[in-house]
Amino acid sequence: MTPDNNTRLNRRDFLKRSAVTVAALSTGCAAKKKRRPTNRVIIIGIDGMDPRLCEKLMSTGQLPNLAKLRQSGGYRVLGTSIPPQSPVAWANFINGAGPGSHGIFDFIHRDPTKQVAPFFSVAKTVQGEGYWEIGDHKLQLDFWPFSHKPPTTVLLRQGIPFWDYLDEAGICSTFYDLPSNYPPSPSKYGHHRCLSGMGTPDLLGTYGTYQHFAEDGPVRTKDEAGGKRSMLFFENETATAQLIGPRNNLLKAPEPATIPFCVHRDKAAKACVIEIQKHKILLKEGQWSRWIKLDFEMSLPALIPNKHLMAICRFYLQEVSGNFQLYVSPINSDPSDSALRITEPPEFIKEISDRLGLFYTTGFQEDHKALANKIFTDEEYRIQAGMVLQERLKLLEYALENYDDGLLFFYFSSTDLQSHMFWWDSDLKHPTRSAEDAKNCFHHIHKLYHKLDSVVGDILRRYGDKATIIVMSDHGFANFKRQFNLNTWLRENRYLYPPNSTGILRNVDWSRTRAYGLGINGLYLNLKGRERDGIVEPGEQREQLLDELSARLEAVRDTNGERVIVKAHRADKVYSGPATTLAPDLVIGYCRNYRASWATCLGDMTKEILLDNDSVWSADHCADASEVPGVIFSNRPISAGTPALVDIAPSVLTKFGLKIPPSMQGENIFVM
């Protein structure tokens, strides 16, 4: 922090101090006597922190602060969700209850009435209603007499989040980067603040789309999973290109808004100058720019001023002299003038930005797609992920400075998105790296754990005697060596037809198909009365089929005889609550080293049922819940023997003296 920042009084402080002064003056300092006793709970959510690795590193003294918590009785393995996917797990944390309460069962759900129409499970965009056509544009005017309804993004998570109970009781809660909460749920009483995390899109409406410009790129911009590639053509060492921005939905034929930019390279200097809007950016090879503010102009009919969406991005100059390569980060919403509603209250994001400047606002900040698509090398990804962590540590500092009492939640994604790419704790051959590289990468994960341990140490030093501190993860990690294609297995075992089917979204004979897989862990029956073209009769036929599928799936063995699936959970036995409509019928719990194949997620089939994972994404947690539990550490002794994610919300409510509501399935885990 700069000295200036340390001496600055922020708005919250100012308002609070002013209010206290006024109250004190008007009541003769009675306010001080009546004030509720200070109660503090700090939760540090470390996505994907694994108990096995923690225990190994604690035993070798590499996590001294977490080890200290363990010694004082504040450590347990934390039961995760079924399935152990982050949106499901964090929603369990939020509701203090399982998926039956919040209705999130996988990253991907399907609409049964449209016979397998997949959609993202956490949020969806509802199309607007009505518009006024003018030339090439269609305008939605949301005021009388037009009263058109503009498109809106809706949070699909159901049930009551635990902060609502705190809010109602007048207890402040602030969440930073909270997953499974985009757009952020509103605060009824004004005591809750939240910055949305995982699930927050970039301005292209995706979870993060980088843009890559290279001399050997494709002439026409080519989309790839998580990115776009384009060609740069240099003439007199200058090239022009277009940065692709948000889609202009005000056009009858929507197309993306773009910003032209120029790149001037100097091969001898191994540097380039980028000119974009009013910015001139000088970068040397291997250098990142700061966040650059961009103004995407969305055209409107003549005489109506154009709409402007403010965005931010960073440029990274990868190579100058050989094949010129320039990476542009996903187009994030500008936190100082956000086009997306990513905080509750909406002005919270501006307050943060006024202090911290510009930072990533998308939910997935580490650009793992760039590594998976070989845009980044391991080292480049490590640097980018390191920059994300530095930004988040500054945000944590801001969070702690602005925290007085109530609940503070802070989330780190680093452990999850770096473990997916760098975790490998086996002597078996890594999918893409040499044994030495794999070892070095895994060592980086050790260092990351050590870094986060020191962050926890800092918080303990500052708040150890003043607050209940909880450090927790939503799940652990496991190698991802082999992939299992569920739909191929179903096809080969004559549950899915025709025998030459290649994907459930392409060529399936629904009149004969009894079951299909979608998402990472979900298996659905083609159930009559639920699926549009359902054929499996509810009742006995359904029961028999589920039992048969469970037994046969659990019996699947790999070519070397290894078990593939720990358990195929019957949803009607593991889920309870009012939000089970979209639940799969079976949740496939894979063994360590195994996961659903890449193709399975959207229903594609491969020739083989079991095949090697060939991706740099070499570790995962979408296994069986028993294989990848999370961790919980606290500076207060934990009395529960086998705590789970659903227990944290009830424990927090209990800490604040509130009753555990009947909608919650968890219990208090602390000594009363």
């Binding site: 060492e237 200097a269 100058v273 001139k280 000088l282």
Partner: protein, 281 residues
């Protein structure tokens, strides 16, 4: 003609810079809103006096009386369409007359306003670099795309480090550097361009300093806009050197806003003093 104008502006800048440094020196010591308000107030009054003596006050008075009379006619004879239309026509004619009488004083005050704004811009348009902060330095060269490139280098200096050395933009005949400020003070960056040495001011410090964004080339408007440093001659290999200083963030004395504040505040003060100085506008 352009070269003649460039000479005139260059000559004018010499005394103006001396006077500007002296008269606006307190800007460095007081808050920006205060200094801009005081300068705006003083300029409002001075420009009002200039207006008084460069305009035809009698003629303006007559036109204004005529407008008043026609406004009265509009009120009294609103039932008569012919009188109303005639009065409206005369009001418009009067407004046109006022504009006509404003041309001469406007032309006269434009020159001092431009010169004063250029001096004020040195203080308010950007803030100096702070130690540790980075900035781009851009040198524009004479010639065309095919011209030979001179050997250019920056002499090492205690005030700043060069963190990205010269990067040429071939299509624009520009050279970029990135520097990092180290020590507070008003310094010079010394460039060796072939056998010639050229300099550019570099302002590092906190608060208010005279910040010259550009050492201009031989163009009268650039010289007017950037008065602080001696312009490069028309035959010089170097045509300009600019530094991308950070914006000053303030609604009264910050980048972009200070000009609007100056105009509003000087007008307010001019209107306040108008009755005392008996000026007709």
């Amino acid at each position: 003609m352009m070269s003649f104008l460039a000479h005139i502006v260059t000559w004018l800048n010499v005394p103006l810079n001396a006077a500007g440094k002296l008269l606006t020196a307190p800007v460095a010591a007081v808050p920006g809103w205060l200094s801009n308000t005081v300068i705006s107030a003083a300029m409002g009054v001075i420009l009002l006096v200039l207006w008084k003596y460069t305009s035809n006050q009698d003629a303006i008075g007559r036109v204004k009386d005529d407008i008043k009379a026609n406004m009265l006619a509009l009120k009294l004879f609103k039932d008569s369409i012919s009188v109303t239309l005639q009065a409206q026509g005369r009001v418009f004619k009067g407004a046109g007359g006022l504009l006509f009488h404003a041309i001469r004083p406007m032309l006269v005050v434009t020159v001092p306003i431009c010169l004063i704004l250029a001096q004020m811009g040195l203080w308010y348009q950007a803030r100096p670099l702070q130690p540790g902060e980075e900035a781009l330095v851009v040198m524009e060269l004479n010639g065309n795309v095919d011209s030979a490139w001179p050997n250019v280098s920056i002499a090492s200096m205690p005030a700043a480090d060069v963190i990205i050395d010269q990067t040429r933009v071939f299509s624009k005949r520009q050279i970029y550097w990135k520097i990092k400020a180290r020590e507070n003070g008003l310094n010079n960056i010394v460039f060796q361009v072939d056998n010639e040495q050229v300099e550019k001011e570099l302002a590092i410090g906190n608060g208010f300093m005279r910040v010259s964004l550009q050492r201009p080339g031989w163009h009268w408007f650039d010289i007017l806009e950037h008065p602080s440093e001696k312009p490069f001659g028309p035959d010089s290999v170097v045509q300009s050197i600019s530094i991308k200083y950070p914006d000053r963030l303030s609604r009264t004395s910050g980048t972009g806003w200070w000009v609007a504040y100056f105009f509003v505040a000087s007008m307010v003060f001019a209107l306040i003093f108008k009755p005392f100085l008996k000026v007709r506008i």
